[in-house]
Symmetry: C2
DNA sequence: TTGTTATATTGCAATATTACGATGTTATCG
DNA sequence: CGATAACATCGTAATATTGCAATATAACAA
C-alpha cells in the first residue's frame, strides 16, 4: 500500500484526480501564478522567485509537464514554459458542474 | 524532506495547494461525483459504490472534510455529507484567472 | 577550447500517503 | 439489556513524495 488504487474508478475520475494532484503543491501553484504574471512565458528566473533549490523546481516543472498542465519549448539556453489551457478547462468544467445542483436538503 | 516546504509561499498559494491536493485522489473525486449525483446528500452507501474498504473511505472523507470541501452532519446512525461550495468557488476563481491572459507569445 | 549559464538527472534520506484488518464508538432496534 | 448498523480510529506495511547535493548535459560566449 501507499499505492493509489485506480482500477475501480473511471478514466475520467482518474484523469481529474491526476490533474488535481499535480496542482496539489504550493511550489507548483506558485509556478503557475508566476507564469500568469509574466508578460512572456519564459521562466528562467523561477529559481530566484521560489524558496527552493534548482533541482527541486526542475522536478516540479516536470510533474506539471507530465500532467499536461504546462508545455515547454527549448529556446536557446533557457526554456519557455507556458500553460496548457485545455487541461485547465477540464478542471474548470468539473468544478462548475458541482455548483449547479443545489440539493441543500440537509446541510 | 518528504515534508512540503510551505514557509516561502503566500497563504493563498498554500491554501489553493491544500485544496487541490485534497482533490488529488480518484477515491476523493469519486466521492464528490457521487455526492453530485445523489438526490439527498446522505451517503451511507459509499462503501458499496467505491472499490475500497470502509476504513479507507472514512479516511478519504476525513481529508475532504479537513480541507473544508465537504461538511458532515450526524443524522441518526448514518452521516450526512455535503459539498461546501465556498471552497469549490475559490478553486474555480483561480482556474478562471488563468484563462484570461492570452500571452501565447511562444508556445 | 575553456568557461559560463540554464536546466535535467541521479541518488538518497526524511517524511507523507494509501490501504486495510482489528477494534472502538454511538445510536437504534428488538 | 444485548445485538446490529454505520461510522471512526488505531496500528502498521508498502509505497510515494519531497528536497537537495552532486553531477550531467547542452547551448552559447570569449
Amino acid at each position: 500500500m501507499g499505492t493509489t488504487k485506480s482500477e475501480g474508478f473511471s478514466t475520467e475520475t482518474n484523469e481529474l484526480a491526476h490533474l488535481f494532484k499535480a496542482l496539489g503543491h504550493p511550489a507548483r501553484i506558485a509556478i503557475i501564478q508566476f507564469l500568469r504574471k509574466q508578460e512572456s512565458c519564459i521562466c528562467n528566473d523561477l529559481v530566484n522567485e521560489l524558496p527552493l533549490a534548482q533541482p527541486t523546481i526542475s522536478q516540479h516543472l516536470k510533474e506539471l509537464k507530465n500532467a499536461g498542465i504546462i508545455k515547454g519549448n527549448i529556446s536557446g539556453t533557457s526554456i519557455c514554459y507556458c500553460l496548457d489551457l485545455s487541461k485547465i478547462k477540464l478542471l474548470d468544467v468539473f468544478l462548475a458542474s458541482l455548483s449547479y445542483d443545489q440539493n441543500q436538503s440537509c446541510c
